[in-house]
Chain length 304, copies 3
């Protein structure tokens, strides 16, 4: 889990994913010789801070978002949210401005809900703050900020090791309204004719989805994917004997929103391990669920 | 109205439109020899569960959504909505899971508004339920669940009988956030240069739009179409002497949302009969409004 | 400021921008001989009521929306909003229907918030009403309805006078959900390879952005632009010594929404003078902020 630990420590809030992009490009460069198939690596200004890896003759694309939630410094000591972070007085936030490193404390006004920070000096307007990473590992679990979606990125990188045919797309802005999947989806569909997608992301532990009971296959969230595609995925998961759970939600969303609303006929399915303490510094995931997530992706990329 | 009755009985909630697609493809195959012009039929994976019919040299495209509202079984006996169905305790819901046919009853918790079902057994997670169809016809009216939008589909199929130049597009997911019109609109614009659209859908009886007073031409809903296009349509309707009403709303939407927000310069107008008891099992439409709807579409496809 | 005064008097609510389009095409035809470079003028049905001006070899596109907020007459004497106008009893509204000119008074029901009008006769259903323009100029300020965004349009037209390389796009529907920037952005990216955008629009005076303190460079609103692009803009503004302020908001939006969500990798930044009394008949802007806005656009179009 050293790779996951490293990913969780990297600050890359939505809009400023460049540090994560740089890390991933370096990692891919160093690791790809050991991978079963060497991918074509697509990156650069045409893709902003996204990366596309193309392995062999792809039929399915895996989307993993590399951005995280966080906070932007507004006026005075006010903060505004990047995405939807949980906010509790006392959370430690880190960042950097022209005056140097920042390690401050979040304050939530109990009456108004307004957010601010406590620090030894004023922080420059527009500075981004992220949760300070406290990575905790036990025999059975990992716990950290940003498992959503560093675990989805980790899953994609581990999948890459043995992937023969498929696409891995690292996307941006997912936590804050989206903005990259529309052009990634257009490019992939037009260049490779691929229109099957899997969303490598993390979901919620709920009354119907339990920690430790296997990766969740989402039948719907705020959007509803095409039923026939979901049924094919369920059949493959069952036939392979991979532990999994079925999720049914009326809210929530993912990179799939942009696939659903884009101008290509994408089929998509969200498949991810469930976590507890969502969008807090203490996101918690069971290791067996991470295992079944990776195994299911490996099978699906072969059989879909 | 046998065709309409059949359409209303078919279950095709958003995301699972395949049964309706299959019915329509069969119907078109059987009927098209009797049509004035034989259309080119575009269907298949490239269009998911949508169908495009191209007649002659098209200048205008008619969009009719084939999906309906409904419910998804969540955990325990909970239900979540597909689209925005009205919910009242006692509504009969039907569906199917691996254990067989389902005919159950909707329950609405009076305090929390939460939805569940009453049935002799548990229903499998993720199963879709739709209103049980009780189709009622009088001399002056039709009443059933899903007149929205089986009546819009019926209007398009009747229009097809005499259509010489034009496109009919059967779309999916309209009731639940959309997801197909973006690529249909792109394809139609790029292949045929068509950018005039009519939305064949059903609207609401309100204080300004009465049952029996003619088809409604919508001047706006939550979105505002381009004024110059609407004025051309109004002039044609007036010149043809077709009974119609002008609708002005601040809310509501249709397949036009995707046309308005897509990357092609579509002009669009929603034109449809008004119904009472919207999104319930008892949607009610006056036959004279159905007549004027079809007549107006016939004239507009010739003259626009 | 005669040009600005003329622009503010023209009625062009979202959906009915044609009168503004016609004015601009005439203005461009008359003025372009005096401009440093003659642009290619793209207009017509393919662009609905939008206009694109292409100067030299463009690297950056400026978007200025030409529509305004207003009201639509509904049933009886009801009004519904076009965009988000402020509403106070007594505001004078003007328009036109088949019976002639309209100069009426807005009424706001104190209990329900519902909007209606007071006038000597009924106004035809679907008629658009806009604020009556009372243009006021002092040594230091301009005040009028619709400075948002006639000032952004004015800025673009003044920029055109000396522009050597760049694109100016006049867009529609910005105040009411958008609908033109998606296809403008696609066209510009595909034809010219341009993916750098500046949004020439007007922002709000707030606790952090003061009137008279220079044009505002927005670091974020409800959406978050790509950080690296914003940093390049800030560096150019600092190096040029142009008075400016940094804005950080959690809400609000602009034409940039469609750039962010479209299927091209646009970088974008909102840069505009701040105004007080937003979306009222009395929008107020300091002249020094207009000056620094134009100067910054001139520098950025050269250096970005």
């Amino acid at each position: 889990m050293d790779l996951l630990r490293t990913l969780c420590h990297l600050a890359a809030p939505a809009g400023n994913e460049a540090p994560m992009t740089e890390f991933l490009l370096n990692y891919i460069r160093q690791q790809q010789d050991s991978w079963q198939v060497q991918p074509r690596v697509l990156a650069g200004e045409q893709f902003q801070d996204c990366i596309i890896l193309v392995f062999g003759t792809p039929r399915t694309a895996v989307f993993a978002h590399i951005d995280s939630i966080g906070f932007t410094v507004r006026y005075g000591r006010q903060l505004v949210r990047i995405g939807g972070p949980r906010a509790e007085t006392g959370y430690r936030l880190v960042g950097q401005d022209a005056q140097g490193e920042i390690d401050c404390t979040l304050l939530v006004d109990e009456e108004t809900g307004e957010l601010s920070y406590e620090f030894s000096r004023d922080i420059e307007r527009g500075t981004e703050l992220t949760f300070r990473c406290d990575f905790r590992e036990t025999a059975d679990t990992v716990q950290s900020c940003y498992l959503d979606n560093r675990l989805g990125v980790w899953n994609a990188l581990r999948l890459a090791e043995t992937l023969e045919n498929g696409i891995i797309a690292f996307s941006c802005w997912e936590e804050h309204g989206g903005g990259s999947v529309a052009y990634l989806a257009k490019y992939i569909y037009e260049q490779y004719g691929v229109r099957q997608a899997l969303i490598s992301d993390i979901t919620w532990v709920t009354e119907g989805v339990r920690a430790g009971a296997g990766v969740a296959i989402s039948l719907r969230d705020s959007l509803i994917p095409r039923r026939s595609y979901i049924e094919r995925i369920r059949a493959i998961a069952r036939a392979a004997g991979i532990p999994h759970q079925l999720e049914v939600e009326g809210s929530g969303g993912s990179d799939a929103k942009e696939l659903q609303h884009g101008a290509q006929p994408w089929d998509w399915c969200f498949i991810g391990a469930p976590e507890d303490h969502v969008h807090s510094p203490n996101e918690l995931v069971a290791k067996v669920d991470i295992d079944s997530m990776l195994t299911l992706y490996q099978v699906l990329l072969r059989e879909l």
